[in-house]
């Protein structure tokens, strides 16, 4: 005989008892493993989705807000050879509509591609003819528009200007272009139909057109804004990828020329200069630095030049480093910052002379996004002839809407121009001199007046010597890193895989949601094991009596149980696969809110199964170990006699203290409840009431335990069948308490989760609510430029309608970051930044803060923590302060107050964000909010507003929404009630609570099954006693009433304790007029518990009482 042999023999002999334990372990293993498999499935699905979306694309060059010459891509392609797949794209934002405009789709990606993008991608992919003959839609867009092949669609496509529309001097020309095309193909995700570089669980709406066609229609001939590469040929054959980001970046640096980034180097023989300028009007600071020593020029279009009562409208004024200019200039080279040199034409026009005061008026971009007219005064230092540099019309850059106009009245500069002010002499000047400046100031003075987020120079001039142009070009090529101009190559596949790999851990989530089910199953297994071991008390006693040490006996029992646990865990893991499939099926349906509608496919890994089995074995053994150990330490004498050691005298000290603490716990719970204000709402209050309920529950269970102990100690005079039933409860107080405790805990947990259901409409109109007091939140696909408070801009945008007469807008800028809300399952390493004027939100005290950094002054609004120096938003190395929603920080970014996040701006410059404020349950979830000026400085190309917070009277909210969407339809506007947006975010949380309550309900049913088992076991143990009662004259019906009565009392005690405690926990929710507490679900759960419990009790009683009573007596 060996210990192993004894274990095996015992395990086989007591297989029935082990089977019962195994069933509990199977459930635990199934839930545990199944949860891990759900996590596997979500991760795998996101990963697969990301890879399918990217298709063959591995690397991408996507300069934000900029374009590069397509020729750069062609040169790179020739250099890298045919083995490397490379394709150019032009990607523009747009809005789609069906032919009659009844169905629309916002946030459409319109992609101009050529044959290289789709080439031989997969069978059934779109042909070149399909691209050239019309538009290829992906299924998402086709479904949204309700169109099929051969139907026509309208695409309103963004027509980017050289400058964002909100910048003065950007053209007033149409910012969008409408393209009407027939649908030539509809493609699915495996044909690159869902191509997107970003990570979003929801597939984008894509429209593919011929590249050349889109370039021409958008006025971007020869320009692209996206280039994509495949992996290298070795990687395609399973080897290492030689096409690394580093190598591609080297190739780019070696191939790129300044002209590729629209930097022009011009030879100006008349001015004896070589000039560097850009089609983007303003030269990047990096370009200026790379050129090095040169004379800078900053020319601006001003509204008026006035001396006294005379004014000249709409002229050019040039600020420059006149002393450094190559050409001899009549302009004084030592102009002070308050001095101006005017030409003779202007002097004659204004009757001005040296010493006069000249006022310059010009448009600048105001804080509210609108134009404000500013002025500056100078002293006339000199009157210069219109000759030499003073006659240089090339000093004016190619201002869009101005440079190409033949007449002043044809100007369309994107600034308000009153053509009635233009005089004949102004037209004459334009005909003869075009954009030649009429006034000249110092470069420093010009920078002070006209510096903007794009740059401080419109041109650089160097002396024209032999080879100067080439030398400048070389200097730029050598000294200017294209990455500083946004030409950064990224491994988009690695980023997509990282985003999917670090997505919300659904395995952990479902483990948490199902933890109660796991605990219930293991507790049930422990209970069944204890029952089984109870029957082996004598066996354990003899082992101890013959000299086996208690520890050895405990180990032998544990090994026996562990055998059963291991087998059960393996079986449970298999069942877990089915459990996971069931969960995934429900995630596609009723619980779709938990995954934001993302499709999830079943996928299981061996690792998850192994972890599930191992974890279940460890957990189960830990739970069961105590029981095996306990038995081995009982008195041998008592074990041999088969008596139960659980007598009143054998109660542990801890148990005694617990019994006495009942009233204290109940009072503590009551105090917490009384001291909390249920009307305040919020998680903190819900948590307080949950704690109060939990304390009450503990107290009630302790009181019941004390009651049972007293019954056991003193006994009760038994004058009735009911009295006998009650006294029977106290015979095995531990077992009775186990029944009561299980039911009470389970019913409390299921009910009290309702405490955390939030009502999104509660106090929704308050400023300090999650809506910020705003009625509407509007998002647009294309940015909206202008001051939404100014009548002129509202008229221009069509917002000056009766429905919006009382509307107030707060506009927020946004960059092209990831959606970091709970609706996006992917990890968002670079969440979207939105820029706001903090003063406006501070003035309204909008939104509620869960936490914030120390305020600069007492009573100040936390929004003021965002404020930066408007004049120098990028000054200093301090992190940029940011405010974000609590859910975004906690679930998407894993940050808290004071946390920091690394970011890169449009120029690929690194900077850090620091969280200075945390919003509580807000509509701003998914974004990081920073100062508007900082956003504009870091992402200058992201002009205009893409997010609007709208105040309108409550009664006209829907009308206002319709009016806004109608007016801004071309911008792809979608207005949503702020409460609806908030409800959508909270829907995810609500879904999680539903899942928890459903799984908790299952645990409750499991608990009631456990009750039934306990009942059955107890009754079977008393068969002899019951037979004796029959023998002395009790009828069968009386015995049934006795047994059922006993256990119904336990059922009732457990349910009452759990429900009372649960009601305490949900008290705040009960008070809310529009509470979301699912009374039906809770009622159904409670009914199921009662029915199940009564059913099990009845079944067990029937089973135990069937058969011949005398046979039981004989067996006794």
């Amino acid at each position: 005989m060996t210990p192993l042999r004894l274990v095996l023999r015992s395990a086989v002999h007591h297989w029935r008892a082990h089977l019962a334990v195994a069933l509990g372990v199977v459930v635990a293993a199934a839930v545990l493993t199944g949860s891990l498999v759900v996590g596997d499935s979500v991760r795998h699905s996101l990963r697969a989705q990301a890879l399918v979306r990217l298709g063959w694309v591995r690397h991408a060059l996507a300069p934000p807000g900029r374009f590069v010459r397509q020729d750069l891509v062609e040169r790179l392609s020739r250099q890298q050879g045919d083995q490397v797949r490379l394709a150019p794209l032009l990607v523009l934002r747009g809005v789609g509509a069906d032919a009659d405009g009844t169905r629309r789709a916002n946030r459409v990606q319109v992609m101009g591609v050529d044959h290289r993008f789709f080439a031989a991608e997969s069978a059934g992919g779109p042909t070149l003819a399909a691209l050239r003959g019309g538009v290829v839609l992906n299924r998402v867009l086709a479904a949204a528009l309700g169109v099929k092949v051969a139907d026509n669609v309208l695409l309103r496509v963004e027509k980017p200007g050289v400058l964002p529309r909100d910048v003065p001097l950007s053209a007033a020309a149409e910012s969008t272009v409408v393209v009407r095309l027939p649908v030539t193909a509809i493609i699915g995700p495996d044909q690159l139909g869902d191509f997107a570089l970003g990570a979003d669980a929801i597939a984008p709406a894509n429209a593919f057109v011929d590249l050349a066609t889109l370039q021409r229609r958008a006025g971007l001939d020869g320009l692209i804004n996206l280039a994509v590469w495949s992996s290298g040929p070795s990687a395609d054959q399973g080897g290492a990828d030689e096409l690394t980001v580093e190598r591609l970046t080297r190739d780019l640096r070696a191939t790129w020329t300044p002209a590729d980034s629209q930097i022009e180097i011009r030879d100006l023989p008349t001015q004896q200069a070589v000039e560097v300028r850009t089609a983007r009007i303003f030269l990047d600071p990096a370009t200026v630095t790379a050129v090095g020593r040169a004379a800078g020029v900053l020319t601006y279009f001003v509204n008026e030049l006035r001396v006294g009562g005379r004014a000249a409208p709409y002229s050019m004024v040039a600020a420059g480093d006149w002393a450094g200019m190559p050409a001899a200039a009549p302009i004084p080279g030592d102009l002070a910052d308050d001095e101006v040199a005017i030409n003779t034409w202007l002097a004659d026009d204004l009757k001005a002379k040296t010493g006069d005061a000249l006022t310059v008026k010009f448009w600048a971009l105001g804080a509210t996004g609108g134009l404000i007219e500013q002025s500056a005064s100078f002293r006339v230092r000199a009157v210069v002839p219109v000759s030499g540099l003073a006659a240089d019309r090339e000093l004016m850059p190619q201002f869009p809407g101005i440079a190409d106009a033949d007449h002043c009245r044809d100007w369309k500069p994107g600034l308000p121009v009153d053509v009635d002010r233009i005089r004949d002499q102004d037209e004459t000047w334009w005909e003869q001199h075009r954009g030649t400046p009429k006034a000249f100031i110092s470069l420093a003075a010009g920078e002070k007046l006209w510096r903007n987020r794009f740059g401080e120079r419109t041109a650089l001039r160097l002396p024209r010597v032999d080879g100067a142009a080439a030398a400048v070009a070389q200097r730029l090529a050598d000294g200017l890193d294209p990455t500083a101009l946004g030409l950064v190559i990224t491994d988009v596949r690695a980023h997509a895989l990282a985003a999917s790999g670090r997505a919300m851990d659904f395995g952990g989530l479902f483990l948490g949601l199902g933890c109660f089910l796991i605990v219930a199953a293991l507790v049930l297994a422990g209970l069944l094991m204890a029952l089984g071991l109870d029957r082996r008390r004598r066996e354990v006693g003899i082992l101890l009596a013959i000299g086996l040490r208690p520890a050895l006996v405990g180990r032998l029992l544990l090994c026996e149980v562990a055998l059963a646990v291991m087998v059960a865990s393996a079986v449970g893991a298999v069942v877990g696969g089915w459990y996971a499939r069931a969960i995934i099926a429900v995630l596609a349906g009723q619980w779709a809110g938990a995954v934001g509608g993302a499709p999830v496919q079943y996928h299981a890994t061996t690792t998850s199964f192994a972890i599930g089995v191992l974890a279940t074995v460890v957990l189960a053994v830990l739970v069961l170990w105590r029981g095996t150990r306990r038995l081995g330490r009982e008195r041998v004498r008592a074990l041999l006699a088969g008596s139960d050691a659980a007598r009143p005298g054998n109660v542990s000290t801890l148990r005694r203290w617990f019994r006495r603490s009942g009233p204290v716990l109940i009072i503590a719970g009551a105090l917490i409840g009384l001291l909390s204000d249920p009307h305040r709402g919020g998680m903190a209050v819900a948590g307080a009431y949950f704690a109060a309920g939990a304390l009450a529950l503990g107290g009630l269970i302790a009181v019941i335990d004390q009651l049972l102990a007293r019954l056991a100690g003193r006994g009760l005079p038994v004058w009735s069948l009911f009295g006998l039933a009650v006294s029977n409860l106290a015979r095995r107080p531990g077992r009775s308490l186990a029944v009561v405790g299980m039911l009470a805990c389970a019913s409390f947990l299921v009910l009290s989760i309702g405490a955390f259901r939030r009502d999104p409409l509660a106090n929704a109109t308050r400023r300090d609510s999650g809506t910020g007091g705003f009625a509407l939140v509007t998002e647009t696909t294309l940015p909206v430029a202008g001051d939404l408070a100014a009548l002129v801009d509202r008229q221009r945008l069509g917002l000056d309608v009766p429905a919006l007469k009382d509307a107030a807008f707060i506009g927020l800028r946004a960059n092209q970051g990831d959606d970091a809300s709970c609706l996006n399952l992917y990890h968002s390493p670079l969440p979207r930044l939105v820029g706001v004027d903090p003063a406006r939100l501070a003035a309204l005290s909008a939104f509620a803060f869960a936490a914030h950094a120390p305020l600069p002054a007492a009573g100040a609004s936390p929004w003021t923590l965002l404020a930066r120096d408007a004049a120098r938003p990028l000054a200093g190395d301090a992190p940029v302060p940011a405010i974000a929603d609590q859910a975004t920080l906690q679930w998407s970014l894993g940050l808290g107050l004071g946390g920091e996040l690394d970011y890169r701006d449009e120029h690929d410059r690194a900077f850090r964000l620091r969280i200075v404020g945390v919003l509580a349950d807000s509509v701003m979830q998914g974004n990081l909010i920073i100062d508007e000026g900082v956003l504009a400085a870091r992402f200058p190309s992201q002009g205009g507003y893409r997010l609007l917070l709208v105040d309108v009277p409550a009664a006209s909210t829907d009308l206002a929404a319709a009016a806004i969407d109608n007016a801004l339809a071309d911008y792809g506007s979608r207005s949503l009630r702020a409460t609806d947006r908030l409800a959508a975010f909270l829907a995810v949380e609500r879904t999680y609570l539903d899942i928890f309550q459903t799984l908790g309900g299952l645990a409750l049913l499991l608990g009631s099954f456990g009750v039934g088992v306990l009942v059955l076991r107890g009754v079977l143990e008393r068969r002899g006693e019951l037979a004796a009662l029959r023998a002395i004259g009790f009828r069968g019906s009386a015995l049934r009433r006795l047994l059922i009565g006993e256990h119904l009392v336990l059922l009732a005690l457990g349910l009452v304790a759990g429900v009372v405690a649960g009601l305490v926990a949900v008290y705040p929710a009960l008070l809310a007029p529009t509470a979301q507490t699912p009374w039906r679900l809770l009622g159904a759960t409670a009914a199921a518990i009662v029915v199940s419990g009564v059913g099990w009790i009845g079944l067990s009683t029937w089973w135990a009482l069937r058969g011949d009573a005398l046979a039981s007596l004989r067996s006794e």
Partner: protein
């Protein structure tokens, strides 16, 4: 002396008086003692104290010179494994083990176990000695009541104890079987020199043992002169 009881008193909760009240006794090597007395007089308690299954409230129990009250639980288990053998009224055989496996169970408790071959051989010899040769591999359910009790006796002897404690070993047996078992116990006492303490209600068995220890109301009653 194998075992000594010095003014041992033992009480249990809920009882008005001690089960044993100042009991003193000695057990010499090879001695046979019958413990007799009415039900509830403390006979089984006396045996439990001798075997280290319980500890006295007052007094000492010395086994092999060691004060059992001063021993840890594990030490007591070790003493039981190597010094004491138990035979109970209910044989308490493990139903899942064969006869020989039941006999071998106490070997698991030894700190240094003999080889498997030695243990197996000894177990079979003991079963043969108690008349169960050929039935080694039978489960308890396939043995008669008397045969099961003989297996229990063999089990009690596997570790060569110096003291054998038997609590009503014949209580559940018919007369013939009980007599055979008594013969067996006495023969083992004579062959192996094991001290034998037997709690019994059987006057016949008590008469066959060398000494008689009578308990009444927890106290030793001196035999009549």
């Amino acid at each position: 002396m194998i075992a000594v009881l010095e003014s041992v008193t033992k009480s249990y909760p809920g009882l008005d008086r001690p089960v044993l009240d100042g009991v003193s006794a000695t057990i010499a090597a090879g001695e046979t003692i019958a413990v007799v007395g009415p039900s509830g007089c403390g006979k089984s308690t006396l045996l439990n104290l001798l075997g280290g299954l319980d500890t006295p409230d007052v007094g000492r129990v010395l086994l092999g010179g060691l004060d059992l009250s001063a021993q840890s639980t594990d030490a007591l288990a070790g003493l039981r494994a190597q010094t004491v053998g138990f035979v109970f009224q209910d044989h308490h055989l493990l139903p899942q083990c064969s006869a020989v496996e039941n006999v071998l169970l106490p070997v698991l408790a030894l700190p240094v176990r003999p080889t498997r071959a030695e243990s197996q051989a000894r177990a079979r010899d003991l079963l043969a000695a108690v008349g169960l040769a050929g039935k080694e591999d039978r489960r308890p359910s396939a043995l008669s009541g008397g045969e099961r009790q003989r297996v229990a006796v063999a089990r009690a002897l596997i570790n060569r104890p110096r003291l054998l404690l038997a609590d009503e070993p014949t209580g559940a047996l018919d007369q013939a079987t009980a007599s055979a078992l008594a013969d067996l116990l006495l023969r083992l006492n004579q062959e192996h020199g094991i001290a034998l303490v037997v709690v019994t209600h059987s006057p016949a068995l008590a008469a066959r043992l060398g000494r008689r220890l009578e308990l009444r109301a927890g106290r030793v009653v001196e035999p009549a002169a």
